[in-house]
């Protein structure tokens, strides 16, 4: 109580508010931004080791191939997401039908699956991997095609969510007005709503692209199950495997090089996407009324809706849940002790990261939301996106290099702390983004009026603003938590000694213990769902009063 009082009193002074915000900025810079891109500095100080790699044609070939795979897969997946995401977002926002709530919940499910689990499940469903007795479709897909199918699953919800968030803000009145002026629905949507949509398109594009580019665990498992893990690489799986392929010493150069390349390319893409948001024009000058009318009536819209749902079922949901087919098999022996301790470790990492994100993310989000027009506000707004777009494996590698300067021991506790810092880096933007959105919608006058009624700034924040933006804070926390829980690449590239759940499952797959890996996955998924369900219940109970 007395601490709270002290915070309240301190918040009344402009100087202590500034000092606190300064501290938040310093934390953001030193714990998140600098370690995330430290590898770029390393490129210059350690140029000799990189120089050798560039001269080495064979290694360069592998690196180029891995980069090409990563970026082209991310691009194709994102394009697929846009094409199937738009009609689905439409369905969720504009249409009212029975069972919409269930569709809405199903949409988020792949987010609760650690991608390592998805990797197993997807290869089982589409292919016929050796060592698994459960029949799949048995298609003989190339690793490239398989990865596209896999990455589509966990990027798709991001696209649909960002598109529907924007669509909810676009009033249907515009479309209605266009239609009273005798445009067909197709033409109205194409020429009026879609151009208003582009901010959502670009956000969705960045999120999906970054997510696909970062993904390590599921990708590695899929490649391993197809038996091509040492011939087919993406950027992250190369970083993940470089040490065991090339030996710890000679791996350094290629790892630095590919990390820097991925970071630089990713940031360049972010900048390009930002510019596109301003420049991108959806052509609207020509219309084809006949064609539009034919597309807007009769069976065409129905087929479109049916295809959207079919895509969700066949490409996203069934392959995700296929791992439950293992329940038909005799129950595999599971080392419950090891599993539970890895789950415990994962929860510790994710929990610590989320707490940090909230404590240091809320002040950052408040500042950005309320100072959009100042130079510092704009800079922070962009800087927060950086860890989001950097592939997490490169980020983890970079972070390990940075903290490696200060610590060279082998204490697992220290490594765990470093892993937590790594997870903070890529989850921080998720929390901050979510809260920025909510704060921007909450009128500043609530807090202002509270202060004129005698509330200290911290009281105005905690008693007035927090209840208003509570659900966004919780949503951001859930998103970060599940994202951290599913992360493999950052963890392994920081330290091989920290066995979080996805790493544990990946190890099992590496040992060909598929049945045990699947059983562990199922247990993990069940725990995740119970957790998410519980949190939703709590939120719903809270919202009944709000």
């Amino acid at each position: 109580m007395s601490l709270l009082k002290k915070i309240n009193e301190m918040s009344d002074s402009r100087r202590s508010r500034k000092a606190w915000f300064g501290a938040v900025c310093v934390v953001f810079l030193t714990l998140i931004i600098i370690p995330s891109i430290f590898v770029v500095f390393r490129l210059f100080t350690d140029w000799s080791s990189v120089d050798g790699v560039i001269a080495d044609g064979a290694t360069m070939g592998v690196i180029k191939g891995a980069l090409f795979n990563s970026f082209s897969i991310a691009f194709i997946v994102t394009v697929i997401d846009v094409i199937v995401g738009i009609p689905m977002a439409w369905l969720l926002v504009r249409k009212h039908f029975q069972g919409k709530r269930y569709l809405d919940t199903l949409m988020d499910m792949p987010l609760a699956f650690p991608t390592a689990v998805l990797g197993i499940s997807v290869v089982m469903f589409w292919g016929a991997p050796e060592g698994i007795d459960i029949p799949g479709l048995g298609l003989n897909l190339s690793p490239y095609a398989m990865l596209i199918l896999l990455h589509t699953i966990f990027t798709y919800p991001y696209m649909v969510r960002s598109l529907s968030a924007i669509l909810e803000q676009i009033e249907p009145n515009y479309e209605t007005a266009a239609m009273t002026l005798s445009a067909s629905r197709f033409t109205a949507v194409r020429t009026i709503t879609l151009p208003l949509f582009r901010a959502g398109l670009v956000t969705g594009f960045i999120l999906c692209f970054a997510r696909s580019l970062s993904e390590t665990g599921g990708t590695y498992i899929a490649l391993k199950m197809m038996g091509v893990q040492s011939t087919f690489f993406t950027g992250p799986t190369f970083i993940n495997d470089a040490k065991s392929l090339l030996g710890p010493d000679s791996a350094m150069g290629p790892m630095i090089l590919i990390s820097v390349l991925m970071i630089v390319l990713a940031i360049a893409l972010l900048v390009a996407a930002r510019l596109m948001m301003v420049r991108l024009k959806i052509p609207t000058s020509r219309v084809w009324p006949q064609f539009g009318r034919r597309l807007s009536r009769g069976t065409v819209p129905k087929i479109k809706d049916a295809l959207s749902i079919a895509f969700l079922l066949v490409i996203v949901l069934i392959p995700s849940f296929y791992i439950f087919a293992f329940l038909t098999q005799p129950v595999a022996a599971v080392d419950y002790g090891a599993l539970l301790s890895s789950i415990g470790l994962s929860f510790l990492v994710a929990g610590a990261a989320v707490v940090f994100d909230i404590v240091f993310g809320i002040p950052m989000a408040l500042y950005i939301a309320r100072n959009r027009r100042t130079v510092l506000g704009k800079m922070l707004d962009e800087a927060v996106n950086v860890p989001l777009i950097i592939p997490t494996t490169a980020l983890g590698f970079s972070l390990a290099l940075f903290w490696g300067m200060f610590y060279s021991g082998d204490s697992t506790a220290v490594f765990t702390a470093m892993v937590i810092l790594g997870h903070i880096s890529f989850t921080y933007p998720l929390v901050v983004r979510n809260i920025i959105g909510a704060v921007e919608e909450a009128d500043a006058s609530y807090e202002e009026v509270a202060m004129t009624l005698g509330a200290k700034p911290f009281q105005a924040f905690s008693k007035v603003l927090v209840p208003i933006i509570k659900s966004s804070i919780i949503a951001g926390a859930i998103l970060s938590f599940t994202r951290s829980l599913g992360e493999t690449g950052a963890t392994t590239s920081i330290s091989g000694a920290v066995k979080t759940v996805p790493v544990y499952i990946m190890d099992l797959v590496n040992k060909d213990s598929y049945a045990e890996a699947a059983m562990c996955s199922i247990i993990l998924i069940v725990i995740c769902f119970i957790l998410i369900f519980a949190v939703r219940m709590i939120i719903n109970r809270g919202e009944r009063h709000a």
């Binding site: 009344d12 002074s13 402009r14 009128d443 006058s445 609530y446 202002e448 009026v449 509270a450 202060m451 004129t452 009624l453 005698g454 509330a455 200290k456 700034p457 009281q459 008693k463 007035v464 209840p467 208003i468 009063h545 709000a546």
Partner: protein
């Protein structure tokens, strides 16, 4: 309750001055309206009184004590915002209880004060409703109760009636004022609605481009405006441009060019130099019309009269406005509605007014158009 003194407040936003050396004194227990067009710096002024905005220079004094650097929470100046800002997750009761709770008053006292405030604004039956369940008027009254329960000495009202339906807005004017007066708070009410200011204020301060132009009782500001802008903003006026003529007992003459000739206007007696360029403003409510019988056409009009042709008659309920076309532009006259039958379009009329209702000003240096602009 404190007397508020604003001393030379300057606040710039990106090179634009929201207030530009604003000085004003609000008396102890007074209900003062700051009246000005959109963007004139009204709200900035209010925010500087309660501390939500810090001035670039200048001082805010409460009873002579400099509070310019005092935090918002200690000023005891409660704001009533135009969107009410009732906390959405709290009931009416909890909203009103906000301030007593924050300030940790003894529970029994707090409960009693909150109850009496809710009773005063007639919200007992809705005490446990949430803001979204209330009508606009009920939200407004709850916000008022919440502000009054905060033990503030100063009440700041930022366009408090703006979001209400027209009818309710009129009804709440009296009610709001009487409740605030009952608490004897020093109150500053910001509005762009001149009728609202005239009806509610003890005194009105007219603000424009970040400066206070005139402070006075509603009658003073209405009858004796200091500038052509005030004349036109507080109650619409007909504006004429002319040259100062001679002065007589009780009135002065202004020569106004009219078509090929000129008209002589009679205005309130003025000491301005003969021959100087002047602006005359007459409230449309003081402008009179006299119908000219067709057979009386021709001849010159006596001093104080000039003629025009009725163009339109607008029926407004209790009043009518007759728009008369003259070579000096459209002249409007607001008349009681019983005169509706007396006038018809295309009638020739004589325009006149009692001289003491016509204010005369020196021609403003930036020109008349700039002076009258509502921004």
């Amino acid at each position: 309750m404190p007397e508020i003194t604003l001393d030379g407040l300057v606040k710039e936003y990106g090179g634009v001055k929201a207030t530009d050396g604003l000085s004003l004194t609000v008396r102890d227990g007074e209900y003062l309206c700051i009246l000005g067009p959109t963007g004139s710096g009204k709200t900035t002024c209010l925010r500087m009184i309660c501390g939500l905005t810090a001035p670039d220079s200048g001082k805010v004094l409460f009873d002579g004590r400099d509070v310019t650097n005092e935090p918002v929470s200690r000023r005891k100046a409660a704001m009533l915002s135009q969107v009410y800002s009732l906390f959405p997750s709290n009931t009416v009761y909890e909203n009103v209880m906000f301030s007593p709770k924050i300030q940790e008053w003894p529970e029994d006292d707090a409960r009693q004060i909150v109850k009496s405030m809710i009773k005063m604004v007639h919200m007992e039956s809705k005490a446990h409703s949430y803001p979204r369940e209330l009508s606009g008027g009920q939200q407004q009254r709850t916000a008022l109760a919440r502000a009054l329960a905060s033990d503030s000495d100063v009440l700041l009202l930022d366009e408090p009636l703006r979001a209400l339906d027209a009818r309710l807005r009129l009804e709440l004017r009296k009610e709001l004022r009487s409740m605030v007066k009952e608490m004897r708070l020093t109150s500053v009410h910001v509005t762009h609605d001149q009728d609202e200011a005239l009806e509610m204020a003890d005194r009105i301060a007219v603000i424009r481009k970040g400066r206070i132009i005139q402070v006075g009782t509603p009658t003073e500001v209405f009858r004796d405006p200091l500038t052509p802008f005030v004349a036109n903003f507080v109650g619409r006026s007909n504006i004429f441009v002319g040259v100062m003529g001679r002065s007589f007992d009780g009135y002065s003459e202004v020569m106004m060019p009219l078509g090929d000739g000129r008209a002589v206007l009679k205005v309130r007696r003025s000491e301005m130099q003969e021959g100087s360029a002047v602006v005359v403003a007459v409230k449309i409510g003081s402008t009179k019309l006299e119908k000219i019988r067709p057979d009386a056409a021709g001849g010159t009009d006596p001093p104080g009269y000039f003629r025009g042709k009725v163009e339109r008659i607008l029926y407004e309920g209790a009043t009518i406005t007759v728009e008369v076309g003259t070579p000096a532009g459209i002249v409007s006259a607001k008349l009681p509605n019983r005169k509706f039958e007396d006038h018809a379009a295309d009638d020739s009329v004589l325009i006149w007014w009692p001289p003491e209702t016509a204010s005369v000003f020196p021609m403003p240096p930036e020109g008349l158009e700039d002076e009258l602009r509502l921004d």
